[in-house]
Symmetry: C3
Subunit: 340 residues, 3 copies
């Protein structure tokens, strides 16, 4: 009759149990100083860049099985805002791979590997040009074991628009209304991935569309240098009468010393990536499509100096141009990143 005394009483009376001590608190604090110029106006600011904190851990269940959990939150050591949600899940891992449920980056987003040399940065991240950089809730995901360098990742996303119990207008009622799958191959200097997303829009738009994204990534790491390429095609299935959107990018870095890196990146796409609901279309997953034929180009250069594996400083510059905007935009930034 172990559980009879209510837990809350136990919590008040009992000392912390040593057996619980394996929760790991982790996080990253990333602050930058930047000057942003939109052609007519230049503003300096001190900003947080996706700083975060979380708790994670695992438990050995015997027979090669273990339970894993991960609860991660965005924090905002900036002018406003408190917590936001990042990857949060519970799962079981074993020889069969890992199954998990919760909120998670899609396999397509995960398939970028180490391509993005300017990840997280407000002006340089690939999310401005490459569609599909989504973190979704209602996710059931599977990560295969490492099969001679190949890892298969799949996620089924429930739309849940019929959750109210009535015959919902958008009629998304299954566990796999949206699907994202990726194959990631990592072997010596080579990383290669292929990913595919398909979305069911339900009957929100008078008819059902099935937009999809396919993305391929290739990264070669030669020790003191790295070069990467990425290609993405977003097929809109004529949603909102939009053409398909093709995007591509190149990235690379060179280690000047063991702790100093020069890096550069170029991305080009048929249109800027905007949220689909900016077009008046709203459904659960964070699909990103574009507002039409509006060529964008973005290039960045930067320099990083690492103090340790957990702490580095960086400076960089990003230039962004878009057909429909007269003036080019640019930003110069420098930052300090500490992971714990």
């Amino acid at each position: 009759m172990k559980k009879v005394l209510p837990l809350a009483i136990a919590a008040a009376l009992v000392a912390p149990a040593a057996a619980m001590a394996d929760a790991t608190v982790f996080g990253k604090v990333h602050m930058i100083v930047q000057s942003y110029d939109d052609g007519s106006d230049s503003v300096w600011s001190t900003d947080s860049v996706f700083s975060r904190v979380g708790v994670k851990g695992s438990e050995d269940l015997g027979d090669g099985l273990k339970a894993v959990y991960h609860l991660e939150f965005g924090v905002n050591p900036d002018a406003s805002g408190t917590l936001s949600n990042r990857n949060q899940f519970v799962g079981l891992a074993g020889g069969f791979g890992t199954v998990l449920a919760g909120r998670h980056d899609t396999p397509l987003k995960m398939s970028q590997g180490a391509f993005d040399e300017f990840g997280d940065l407000p002006w340089g991240d690939i999310t401005r040009v490459m569609p599909g950089e989504d973190r979704l809730g209602n996710v059931l995901a599977y990560v295969s074991p490492n099969l001679s360098g190949l890892t298969i990742v799949g996620a089924a996303v429930a739309g849940e628009t019929g959750d109210t119990g009535s015959a919902a207008t958008s009629d998304l009622t299954s566990l796999y209304d949206h699907i994202s799958v990726a194959g990631l191959y990592s072997n010596g200097p080579i990383f290669a991935s292929l990913a595919y997303n398909t979305y069911d829009t339900g009957n929100l738009l008078a008819q059902s569309y099935s937009p999809s994204i396919i993305r391929a990534t290739f990264v070669w790491n030669g020790g003191n240098w790295q070069a990467g390429a990425m290609y993405s095609n977003f097929s809109t299935d004529d949603l909102a009468a939009l053409d398909d959107v093709t995007s591509w990018g190149l990235s690379g870095h060179f280690m000047v010393t063991a702790n100093d890196k020069i890096k550069a990146q170029y991305l080009s796409g048929d249109a800027p990536v905007v949220k689909v609901n900016d077009l008046g279309v709203s459904f659960s997953p964070n699909i990103t499509i574009t507002g039409g034929d509006d060529q964008v180009d973005m290039w960045s250069v930067g320099y990083e100096h690492s103090f340790s594996k957990r702490t580095y400083v960086h400076v960089g510059y990003t230039s962004y141009s878009q057909d429909s905007i007269a003036d080019d935009q640019s930003a110069f930034f420098g930052g300090l990143v500490h992971s714990f």
Copy 2:
């Protein structure tokens, strides 16, 4: 002159103190997959079930006295929502028992012991039929020491509706506008409890009412089986011209193996439990009363398999019927629970 250097400077300059290392990070992540059917519509979803994370600890103050604290938050690894509040308090514990202040489950809620075999689950939890499952702020609580198996728990809840300093409309200005007390007896296979809530509605309703709840719970745990019974009477004191609401329930489980459990539960009440402010009456505590004579019946069956004391999986089925709703509702669900 210890405290002269501002703490913020100290925080930046001084390494973490070893003496602070006794804070325990704890939590639970519970994800389910479920299919809910309301008679006309069936929806699958992947959902979080009251997942949570917190920090707790205690300090030995000598002479048998100790300080205890507990800060627990709801987290939501689901489609939306960030943190919510759960039990959060600071207190002193000693031979006299424990006194605490903060936000806490009421003693009446605590008096359920291990009765609820489907606790937390969106369709099976007793909170749908049994009134008084409240967690309240503005709480001063006392937990007695264990007196030959008997523990007395009492909570005084300040209404604070006069907090603005003006002559408040509801005139709840004391530390014990609402009171919840319970006696919990645990001895060998037996758990028995009796609990009582009384609420002061102030003068919000032109006159003052004193609704109250009395609840009795009995659970017998025979080692590889358990059986429980619960009875509740909510006396509305004619508030909103409502009749009294009587509810009762039976629960039980049988251990098929040391790690496998079959469980079942049945609850019946005069009306569904709804928040009192659904009736246009609003006051601080989360009193729950019913919308009139509207018989509800809810039964659930389930199966649990434990991998360890901290990790288990479960499947179950709940059926819910209510006089005023033509179609019965039902849900089939399976989940993974990991505590840390």
Copy 3:
């Protein structure tokens, strides 16, 4: 090619790394019971007083350099509210001092040292009479090393009102639109500080104002007693046609035993401290000025008993009078404080 496997996969598959174990979870839970009387109405309440929780740590980078981080949140074990933001930053510390970026108390606020005997308390804290008790985002700060007892602290605050990229109405676009500096001297029994804030209001008010605050603090700690004095002058630069506001205060305590303290405090000012945007003026930093000539007087007496360095109880009384309010206000309170 270290980073090629996406972090999210690694998080699911890899056990927590021992090397990350130096994150320190810290906090304070402070609950009070109080009776507040505004002359016509008296209300009892159970309240949280700036309870908080956070994570902090540092990493030794070699050569006398280290990385420091601090993420602190307000929590609310009270009737409502979840997390709020407190000091949150990342920085580098070395022989040159500490530089940090994030959200932080201003140096002027930090310059109070141990003056405030009733800090945090809703009725007794100096923030009701002394302007400038601000915690701001968009902060770049520098803390000098200890120079024979003297520490210099400076903060530059970006207004960021032009962040949208358009020609902003308030035109605050630099990293140092607002500046706060302080010198803190601590040597044996003596603590003395001088602090200065200056704010740029941009062109929000048709013209640009530069209000400023100067504050001096002196505290003498004689071992079993302490006495302090504080003086503040807020120069409004004719903003909203307001006169300058002068405030001053005295505080002190006497140790009755090694663990028992009697304390008292008196503050007087030309006007109550209200947020500047209460006057219809809105800009980023949390400047506080007054509504005109409206003398305030506040005195408090209290008693503290410490169980340990981390846990104490207190009782106290505060009286507050203001020219423009007929009835004096008073509060009697008692509380329990536990730091971890």
